[in-house]
């Protein structure tokens, strides 16, 4: 190879090799992770803007609902964090006019919504279940949530935590769920109170709620699985 050939190679060939260089760079975690995370954030942004919380999730007749026994228990740490149901209270804080501790019967006084919806897990399984509870939207009005607040963050008795955007929370099918199949939630399904939003994936349906925080800004802790790499928006 003459020197001239080499010079030509170093320009054109290098340019032609750029996809290969990119592929090679993707092998390194320090390069791959920011690219993949940026891609996920873009995907979240598009889903929020394009799919949003505008449409309704599909609802089903009672005959399509799986039996209570067939509804799987899924959990991240413990199946039963041993919540004392008698003394349980939901701590409400943040940008609300009436912060404080709310009892379950106060939440039960809100209009009760019952719906048969599909619970969809990011791992690829889904079940149609029967859920009952109060609209998060009604609860937000009860506690006097600020109109300018953009997020809701929840903490759970099993140290799980998550957060959702206000538009999804205000969706007419988004519930503070205290019932499944007409019976109070059992320990494995998140007694006494959990989130149930058929427009979101399963990992957003936090169980064993203890803290409900209304805020304008998300902290560094966005959610247990979300911080590990799952989509924050988690829409369906």
């Amino acid at each position: 190879m003459t020197e001239r050939d080499f010079k030509r190679l170093s320009r054109r060939e290098m340019l032609k090799l750029s996809p290969l260089a990119f592929a090679g760079a993707m092998l390194f975690k320090t390069v791959r992770t920011p690219i993949a995370e940026a891609g996920l954030r873009f995907s979240d942004w598009v889903s929020e803007k394009q799919i949003g919380a505008r449409r309704l999730a599909e609802t089903f007749s009672d005959s399509k609902v799986v039996s209570f026994e067939k509804f799987p228990y899924n959990y991240y740490d413990v199946l039963n964090p041993e919540v004392d149901l008698d003394s349980w209270k939901l701590t409400v804080e943040g940008e609300v006019m009436r912060p404080g501790e709310y009892r379950l019967d106060q939440i039960r006084e809100l209009p009760r919504i019952s719906q048969n919806t599909r619970h969809i897990c990011v791992e690829g399984w889904d079940v149609i279940g029967s859920f009952g509870g109060a609209r998060i939207s009604d609860f937000l009005d009860m506690i006097g949530a600020s109109d300018s607040a953009r997020f809701i963050e929840v903490d759970c008795a099993d140290d799980y935590y998550s957060s959702i955007d206000m538009k999804s929370a205000r969706h007419s099918q988004s519930l503070l769920c205290y019932e499944m199949y007409g019976r109070p939630l059992d320990a494995g399904h998140g007694a006494p109170l959990r989130l149930q939003m058929p427009i979101k994936l399963g990992y957003k349906q936090a169980k064993y709620l203890v803290t409900f925080r209304v805020s304008s800004m998300l902290g560094v802790r966005k959610g247990y699985w979300e911080d590990l790499g799952y989509s924050w928006y988690g829409g369906i």
Binding site: E37, L40, W225, G229
Partner: protein, 80 residues
Amino acid sequence: MSTRAANSIRAVYEHPYMVRLCHWLTAISLTLMIGSGIEIFRAFPSFSTKIPENDIADIPSWLGVGGWLGGALQLHYTFM
């Protein structure tokens, strides 16, 4: 074949650079889409009789890209 004739053979690229660049970017994207897709497929769990897994193919883990479901999903969305 004479030396002269051999020297006159020239390789010609038929496609413009942009087409070739897009081709190879697609090749990378497709590889990562398939690899991460396999990893996502592999994440399906079994809840014994509640949600059985036994009718789903067992794909070896080395075919998957992304390390775990979360990593695979990030790559999948990015290269979509």
